[in-house]
């Protein structure tokens, strides 16, 4: 993975830039010692490391605006960062860029139960929002697996999902407004406590923009009332086809479960060895179906799903009789990543999405690739929405194995696109999948996206090197070729 060549003239001006930033953010807010910078050199994509030029940790929106204004004026690159849990390298620093950490923006500003929303600063953790409102029976719905650590600012940047997003949506469906600072240092408010602001949906395009369009300094999130009861089924199948068929039939019956997760045999075994969840070991696919809502509804649907599962040839069906039992069903799934980490020195987590009915074919071809690359793979699958997480097992200490794992991963993602899916369902493009973007998008598609970047950040200073495989100057992207005198197709109906 190549990042843009660092600008030596900026690196040489480091001392001067530190002084300028200290004039904006006094005291401890500017980190320039190598020891201090070390803590920020990596995010959740641990294969890549880079010391930032300087780290700035502002405390106010005005400071953020001043920092960005200064950087814009002096042509200095900026990488925004929340908790640094990105799995795609979205917060990977640049040698010639400052890292703008939002960790000090950690306050819940307002809770408004009447309007079912809360205003929070971007450094509040995802789970922190729920913690702040659960006393009144409310919660914030998107629940990425890193929710204990990841921040809402990062969630907005990555449009984070979670295991419940089939029913409750992603970040983009659960936020109402943001305060945004543009690269030019302008403070802009988009949305609020109301719905559907007129004009172009800037909130929508900002969500999932991976820190390339602006820095979010405040977020208004929707709050939901917690469901009164939850129960789960643990269903084993003799084949992934049977498991996939069961998922299709559940949804075909009009049931949208709160959670709908599938694991393949290697994942089942790794998880069971690790947490002893009581998973059946003689099955090829295991499905966790969680239903939530009023007790009467949950009980009714449990019976329906049980019937559907039996009709699909399930070899084992367990229904949770208590919250403890439900938690035990989830224990293995939630520990799947560390469980795989236990049986292999390293693992590489992929994140493609596919049309669900193509799952058996994708699993079969992934198994073939596994043999070809000589690397094991375990699959966990958000079955409801088609988001597949193959975990490729490798050993970074063995020469060439990381590269092979990356090649294998890229092949899987290409396969996802080939069957009608996409490169990433929830982890983002970042640096990790940047060079695969041309598999999914053609040149016009990518240029159309990059021109949106130009509208927000014409100098390309905000988080460059992420998402797009090729950097183009905005002036070049903006150019338009007009073919004068060209007539529409002769058969174009005209009136």
């Amino acid at each position: 993975m190549e990042m843009p060549a660092p600008d030596q003239t900026v690196i040489e001006r480091r001392a001067e830039i530190v002084d300028a930033l200290r004039a904006i953010v006094p005291g401890e807010g500017v980190k320039a010692n190598e020891d201090e910078l070390r803590a920020f050199e990596v995010d959740g994509l641990t294969a890549y490391r880079q010391l930032p030029l300087i780290v700035v940790l502002p405390e106010t929106t005005e400071q953020v605006a001043q920092v960005l204004r200064y950087c814009q004026a002096d042509g200095i690159k900026v990488v925004p960062r929340g908790a640094g849990t990105s799995l795609s390298g979205g917060a990977l620093p640049l040698a010639d860029g400052i890292l703008l950490g939002l960790g000090k923006f950690n306050r819940v500003l307002e809770i408004d139960f009447d309007n079912r929303c809360a205003k929070v600063q971007p450094g509040v953790t995802n789970l922190g929002i729920t913690r702040a409102v659960e006393h009144a029976g409310f919660y914030y719905a998107p629940d990425p697996s890193s929710q204990i650590a990841c921040t809402i600012g990062g969630n907005v940047a990555e449009n984070s999902g979670g295991v419940h997003c089939l029913k409750y949506g992603l970040t983009t469906n659960n936020i109402l407004g943001v305060e945004l600072v543009t690269m030019a240092g302008e403070i802009v408010r988009i949305g609020g406590k109301h719905l559907d602001s007129p004009g172009y949906d800037l909130l929508g395009v900002l969500t999932g923009s991976e820190g390339l369009l602006g820095v979010v300094t405040e977020v208004t999130v929707r709050l939901l009332r917690k469901p009164t009861s939850q129960r789960a089924l643990l269903i084993g199948f003799p084949s992934s086809e049977a498991g996939g068929d069961c998922v299709a039939k559940i949804i075909g019956a009009g049931i949208i479960p709160g959670g709908l997760e599938m694991m393949d045999k290697p994942a089942i075994h790794a998880a069971e060895d690790f947490v002893h969840a009581g998973y059946p070991l003689d099955v090829e696919a295991l499905l966790i179906v969680e239903l939530d809502g009023p007790e009467v509804e949950v009980d009714y649907l449990i019976e329906r799903v049980e019937g559907i599962a039996e009709g699909c040839g399930a070899t084992s069906v367990r229904v949770s009789q208590s919250d403890e039992e439900r938690a035990s069903f989830w224990a293995g799934r939630k520990a799947a990543f560390p469980a795989v980490g236990r049986i292999s020195p390293d693992y590489y987590c992929m994140d493609g999405t596919i049309p669900r009915r193509r799952l058996p074919e994708v699993l079969k071809r992934t198994a073939e690739m596994s043999r070809h690359y000589g690397l094991r793979v375990a699959n966990v699958f958000h079955a409801g929405d088609g988001n597949l997480h193959p975990l490729i097992l490798y050993d970074a200490n063995k020469p060439g194995e990381l590269e092979r794992a990356e090649e294998f991963g890229a092949e899987i993602l290409k396969l996802c696109v080939e069957v009608g899916g996409v490169l990433t369902g929830e982890h983002g493009v970042g640096v990790e999948k940047r060079d695969l973007m041309e598999v999914q998008f053609d040149e016009v598609d990518l240029k159309t996206q990059q021109r949106v970047k130009c509208a927000f950040d014409p100098d390309g200073l905000l988080n460059p090197g992420k998402m797009f495989p090729r950097l183009h100057r905005c002036a070049e992207l903006g150019r338009m070729h007009i073919h004068r005198g060209q007539m529409p197709f002769p058969d174009l109906p005209r009136f």
Partner: protein, 406 residues
């Protein structure tokens, strides 16, 4: 009205737009044409008619996905979905009748271009939340795609959001893919009679804060109730505050009963069952009380505010101008019919309270002389203008439809 171009394929759309660019002839984009009166009036040399791009290309019920060309009628799509027990969960309103067109003529392209949604908006999202992917042609005459056909996708910028509600000013759609969801087996509507708007919003808030998964909450004042085509509601002649639950039979029944008990302290209660509920909520969705078929030619405004501010916003305006207000989204959506355009009063109220107002229906000169959409503050307007320029540098597509900036 100048020349109309009626392409039959994406290539022809690209060709038509390229031609318009080279000839510097701005285009008005239409498919069903039912919403031509929505937005600032256009004065374009030519019309780009997408109605020949018609038909559902893909529908996989168990994958919850449907793709169709922009000219496909929403009524056709809804009928196809209903056969499989599914629906467009954002409950797109049929805006045509409010603007004087016959019902059932609106197209998918129009719904997406205007980001239309209905009462279920507050629980299930708007059109923006259900568009998975699209193909279109920008004002550069270039065909492009964004999104895909899968539910979960964060690959690149979410241009689907940007294009939904862009009123044809960024691109002409050629292919749209939406998420579809199961249609509820049973619908129950709990009715509270005789409340004033402020009390109604308090009652709706109580329902919405409960764990009963209320999918819609609306209030219709007594003076407008006669227009609702459900006898049980129109005959008593009192104002109605309505709260909807939907789902599987046992669940809908249970939640309806629980809500009746919870809301009992607000006074007179009644309930509607599935058929009547569907008729009632369709009337709310399409703002039946203000349809011009009964001679109502007043200006109609649509306010989106924090739900608790709905009655206050309406009062501020109705203190100055005679008119009526209907409340949806638990108070967050206010439909106002005013005896005069009232732009100054409306803007002032919204500026005080927060939120936005759109002049959905007014005579052409009124829409030409006033901001139809909420004016944006400087930096936001600048961003929007730059986005417009990035898609449509020559200002060929629906120029001016959304305001002065585009």
């Amino acid at each position: 009205m100048g020349e109309t171009l009626k392409p039959g394929s994406e290539d022809q759309v690209a060709d038509a737009i390229s031609w318009a660019v080279s000839e510097e002839k701005p285009l008005e984009i239409v498919s069903g044409g039912t919403k031509r009166g929505y937005g600032r009036p256009l004065q374009t040399a030519c019309t780009l008619d997408l109605s020949a791009l018609d038909g559902v290309a893909l529908y996989e019920p168990d994958e919850l996905v449907l793709s169709a060309a922009p000219g496909t009628r929403v009524s056709e799509i809804e009928a196809m979905l209903a056969e499989q027990g599914q629906q467009l969960a954002f409950e797109p309103m049929d805006l045509g009748p409010l603007l004087g067109a016959p019902p059932g003529q609106g197209t998918l392209g129009g719904v997406i271009a205007c980001n239309l949604a209905g009462p279920r908006r507050m629980s299930a999202g708007a059109a923006r939340d259900h568009l998975l992917g699209l193909r279109g042609v920008s004002g550069r005459g270039e065909a492009f795609k964004t999104g895909g056909r899968v539910m979960k996708n964060v690959t690149g910028y979410d241009l689907c959001k940007l294009l939904t509600g862009s009123f044809g000013t960024l691109a002409a759609f050629t292919h749209l893919t939406v998420k579809v969801l199961p249609r509820a087996q049973r619908v129950r509507t709990v009715l509270l009679m005789g409340l004033e708007p402020a009390a109604a919003v308090k009652a709706m808030t109580e329902a919405l804060q409960s764990s009963h998964e209320v999918s819609a909450a609306a209030h219709i004042p007594a003076g407008l109730i006669a227009s609702i085509p459900v006898d049980r509601i129109s005959e008593p002649g009192a104002s109605v505050t309505a709260v909807r639950v939907e789902g599987f039979g046992p669940s809908a029944d249970y939640r309806c009963a629980a809500l009746r008990q919870m809301l009992d302290h607000w006074g007179a209660l009644d309930e509607l069952h599935t058929q009547n509920s569907r008729a009632f909520w369709q009337a709310v969705r399409d703002v039946r009380p203000f349809w011009p078929d009964s001679g109502d030619e007043r200006s109609v405004w649509r306010l989106s505010v924090a739900p608790s501010e709905g009655p206050g916003a309406a009062n501020r305006i109705l203190d100055h101008i005679d008119g009526d207000a209907v409340f949806d989204w638990g108070g967050g959506l206010v439909w106002l019919a005013l005896n005069e355009p009232g732009a100054d009063s409306v803007r002032e109220a919204v500026n005080q309270i927060g939120g936005h107002a759109t002049l959905v229906r007014a005579a052409e000169p009124v829409r030409a002389a006033n901001d139809v959409f909420q004016p944006q503050p400087g930096p936001l307007a600048t961003l929007s203008r730059r986005i417009k320029e990035s898609f449509d540098p020559k200002g060929i597509l629906n120029p001016g439809r959304m305001g002065l900036a585009d």
